[in-house]
């Protein structure tokens, strides 16, 4: 796989990550509670920026740690076997996203168990300090690990094949693209947009996002399967036959 092709796969995986909405939901809720509690605009910006920083750092940490672990264990694990696992997870997750990423009914309720959703909601309401918002940002990424882990795994598998400089560029690209919606909404809230309009847009478009996200996972899974599993196997068989 050459460098541009690797970066395109990282970019697609990051866009799929960006379509997962837990961090955006928590940010919306955090802003709504902060404005509703009559806190100053500076406090609102402090909390939302700290939250976004928490999400950024946890995303970078997860991607770097996954890549490091795979790199360290790469001599013990067959790379093709890892790609097969990643493809299986991409297909499985794509179908899972289509079936249950959003709950039925009004609002933007996610797949989260209701107990965890209530806990996150209560923590969001209780967040008053920037350090708490930062921690909330870290935990919101961890809470959605079930979904974000697969794009992270695929990106890590791609990144370990690149040179160190391109690995850094790849981590930067993944982080920037996966956080783009969060940062855009953070900027909208900071510039005075109404939370209700943002939330209404999210609700109106949630089925499209769900379709795009699940479809993206399936397409990426198919591409990666052909490129990393099928083609090398066929080439090896052809070379062996010659």
């Amino acid at each position: 796989m050459n460098t541009p092709e690797s970066l395109i796969i990282v970019a697609v995986a990051a866009l799929i990550h960006a379509s997962f909405q837990l961090s955006v939901s928590v940010l919306t809720l955090l802003s709504s509670h902060t404005i509703g509690a009559k806190r100053s605009h500076a406090r609102l910006l402090g909390l939302t920026n700290a939250f976004a920083l928490g999400v950024t750092i946890m995303t970078v940490l997860l991607l770097s740690t996954t890549a490091l672990l795979i790199k360290l264990k790469s001599s013990f694990i067959d790379q093709t076997a890892l790609w097969v696992v990643a493809c299986g997870l991409l297909f499985g997750l794509g179908v899972a996203v289509w079936i249950f990423y959003y709950r039925r009914g009004q609002g933007t309720s996610l797949w989260l168990p209701r107990g965890l959703a209530r806990y996150l909601s209560d923590r969001t309401k209780a967040t008053k300090q920037s350090a708490e918002a930062f921690g909330l940002g870290l935990s919101s990424v961890v809470a959605e690990l079930l979904f974000v882990f697969v794009p992270i795994l695929v990106s890590a598998l791609v990144l370990i094949e690149l040179s160190p400089a391109w690995q850094l560029a790849g981590i930067g690209l993944y982080t920037a693209l996966s956080l783009a919606p969060l940062l855009a909404i953070n900027a909208m809230i900071g510039s005075g947009h109404k939370i209700s309009r943002i939330q209404r847009w999210r609700e109106d478009n949630k089925r499209f996002l769900q379709f795009a996200s699940g479809g993206g996972l399936l397409v990426l899974g198919f591409y990666v399967y052909v490129d990393q599993v099928l083609t090398p196997t066929v080439l090896a068989a052809a070379n062996g036959g010659l």
Binding site: L22, S25, V26, T28, L29, S32, H33, I35, G36, A37, K38, G105, Q106, G107, T108, S109, L110, L112, A117, L120, S121, G192, K194, I195, S196, R197, Q199, R200, E203
Partner: protein, 94 residues
């Protein structure tokens, strides 16, 4: 309001509690402020919703918190649709 009204909590999992006008006022006020309404306008909307809800529940010995929220949201929707949307949906964000 002279009469004491009990509010049965959601799903019946938490104990019933007395109707508290201040609590309703605070939640409606927060919804209005969340959509960046001026404070005076938010206060007026919250008072109006509280008055309507109190006159609605005075005819009943017991109400559920869901009914209370629905009635408040319906009235708020007439005077402040944006705030009503957030008030109705704030539990459905996550």
């Amino acid at each position: 309001m002279g009469k004491v009204i009990d509010v049965v909590k959601r799903d019946g999992t938490r104990p019933t509690e007395r109707f508290d006008r201040n609590k309703l006022h605070a939640s409606v006020l927060a919804a209005c402020l969340s959509v960046r309404s001026p404070h005076g306008e938010a206060e007026t909307a919250a008072n109006s919703v509280c008055d309507v809800v109190i006159s609605w529940c005075e005819t009943k010995p017991e109400i559920t918190s869901s009914d209370l929220r629905r009635t408040a949201a319906n009235h708020l929707n007439r005077i402040h649709p944006e705030a009503a949307y957030l008030y109705k949906h704030h539990r459905l964000v996550l």
